[in-house]
Amino acid sequence: MSKKVLISLFILLCHIPLVQAEDFMSDVARANDFYTSNNYQQAADSYESLREKGLNSGYLYYNLGNTYIRLGKTGPAILNYIRAQKLIPRDENLQANLNFAIQQTRDKIAPSPPDTLATIFFWVTDLSLNENINFAFAINLTFWLILTAWFYFRTDFLRLARNVIFFLLLLAFTSIGVKLHYESNSKTGVVLAKTVSVKSGLDASNITLFELHEGALVNITDERQGWIEVQLDSKQKGWIPKDSLGI
């Protein structure tokens, strides 16, 4: 009876990361062909279509960013690079192209430097949410296996291993918490309009505090009535219409 339960659970575990990548392969290959044959508009349409179909891949966003750079649309390019960064944070090509795109903008605003929490949990920003979860999965499984072994054999080594893995498990869960905190609270937006006036309030009649240009990276701090409150690193704050910003 217990064996059957074990096997069922194992099968369930194995089926969690099920993907449907094969459905998108041919479409991705076609979009890549458009790009390599310099049909950038068609390539962009194909990548966007894949995105709309539900393909959530760091490399899709990266290729889409490249395509927009070729089309001279710096704002959408940076937006897609930022999206890609959440999924493939350690990709060097992505970082290089993001820097290149930022240099093409008028405001040249670099992404925010890590705050104290991100400095302490330095590995969290280098791992995507899924990588953080997978790491926690592995540690979780190891912990329960070692706990079972210790339950049976009760040796000092297993006791030490149990304690160490338990500490790692806590760390892994905390990392997921920190990652979720950044994913939900630290939202970065990219200005998509050529020029946008940052207003002092939720209305176009308010005074213009400063202007931002296409591709400018901003931190989103609030959203109300179709307006978004944005903040720059230098603590300059103001409101811009939601449709002028890509999130």
């Binding site: 074990l6 575990l13 891949s57 990266y62 290149f100 240099q103 995507s128 899924n130 994913e183």
Partner: protein, 575 residues
Amino acid sequence: MGLSLPAFAEDIQVLATVDRNQITLEDSLQLSITIQGTQNTPPPELPSLPDFRVTSAGTSSSTQIINFKRSVSITHKYRLTPMNTGQFKIGLARIRANGKIYATQPITVVVKKTTAQNQPADKSVFIETNVSKKIAYVGEQLIYSFKLFHRIEAKNLDLSMPFGASHFQKEDLGKAKSYQNLINGIQYQVQEISIALFPIKAGKAEIPAAMLDLDIYHRTRSNRRGFFNDPFFGQGIRAEHKVLRSKPLSVEILALPEKGKPLDFKNIIGQFNIQANLGKKDLEVGDTTTLTITVSGKGNIRGVTFPEPNLKHQFKDYPDQPEFKQTVTANQIMGQKTFKFALVPLQSGAVTLPAFTLSYFNPEVRDYQQIKTQPIALSIHPSSAEETLNHVQSNSINNILTKPEIEILAKDILPIHTQLNDFQNISSKIGTSTLIGFVSPALLFVIAAIFIRQQKRLTTDVAFYRNQKAYKTASQKLKNLARSQNSESKEFVSELSEILREYIGDKLNMQGKAITAAEVEHKLKESNYQANAANNTRKLLEKCEALQYTPVSSGNNLELLNESHDLIKTLEKKS
């Protein structure tokens, strides 16, 4: 001499007084503002006094009790030093007290020029300023000196010595000197301070008057013999505040002549010497030697610079930071500036280092002069560790001569990603499956823990072991019995009865063979088996016992066997 003003309020009075109202430019007067009736007031607001320099001279307060009546006052004192001659009015000073404003009366003061009888020879204290040259060139060093002569005690000196910053650059020449000097047979104590001035533009330049504030102490003799009738105790000291002013000085500054000006002239003015020294003159390729250029002399030596020597790729040179030392000798700034170059020969052979030249203007001869170092010859031998050195050398030469730098022609993005296997759909949300993934190892652990615990109990707890194994053992025995050929014999029934008893013995952890049917029912009920099941068990055992002692077989032993099997099942389920 004092002027008073009736106060606006009955209890508070303010009073402004001066210690004298006719003074010379060398004197200062003391303005006292007394507030009677209170001591808790902010300082008075003084009127604008553009013709005086105002310094605070302290505050004093007093309390008096006369006929049991207490009166208090506070006096604010100011020293007023006149800046010009003429008749001046000290305006209203305002005092805020008890929410009201009180004002003093204006006071008129007359400031006269220094009287003619105060000639230096007659004075007990006087000052003197002078400049080393009345005509000088731009950049030439001038010495501006201030001297205080006094033959009585002078204290609290406060010197203001402007030098005309729009015409000169100043350089300090150290601390003040103190010495004695005889003038017309009178010995004076002299305090002298000097600064070096460097004219910065041509034209007539004026050095403004220097001004010295000081207190001098006159010894006076009293007619009264005083205490102990001793002349020593009749002697008194009277302090006097003085302001001494020098006369402004004028200097004519000449521009440097254009005629004969060398091309490499860099506004260096004075008299200089130059010297060159080389550390090692006999060395190998790759060795290091130090070339030292020393410029010394009088003038603005700090500004001397040399370009890097042109060594025509025969040497690699590493210039050091120049060292500058300044000395003041006989009120003249003397200096020495040292330039050092580390030279590393790159080629062997006899080499002569080029001379270093310095062009400067000499104000003494009113002309430009040029000095240069002697050429230095040195012989360079091929390196004794040639192979290694050549290798290093060739690299260093390449580094020096070609300075390879990658020229960035353009910037572009890196290519798209084409590995199709990497385009996997990633769910970025934490869903039920994720939670199941985290919880299931814990569930597995619980199951495994129960299993392990049971296994351990089976090896240590006999009663538990018998209980767990009872059904299996009894079932097996019943199957074996069913397969036996003599199902109608009495032994069959006897064995069936024994299997049942052993099963119950295992379940209840007791000796099963010796137990009676009535005891079985009782024990089963004690162990919380249902009464019905216990009753059926007793009946079945009694039936078996009856059949054992019946002479003829009933012929339905197999039915009894099935009944026994069903009973065990029932008991197992309800245990």
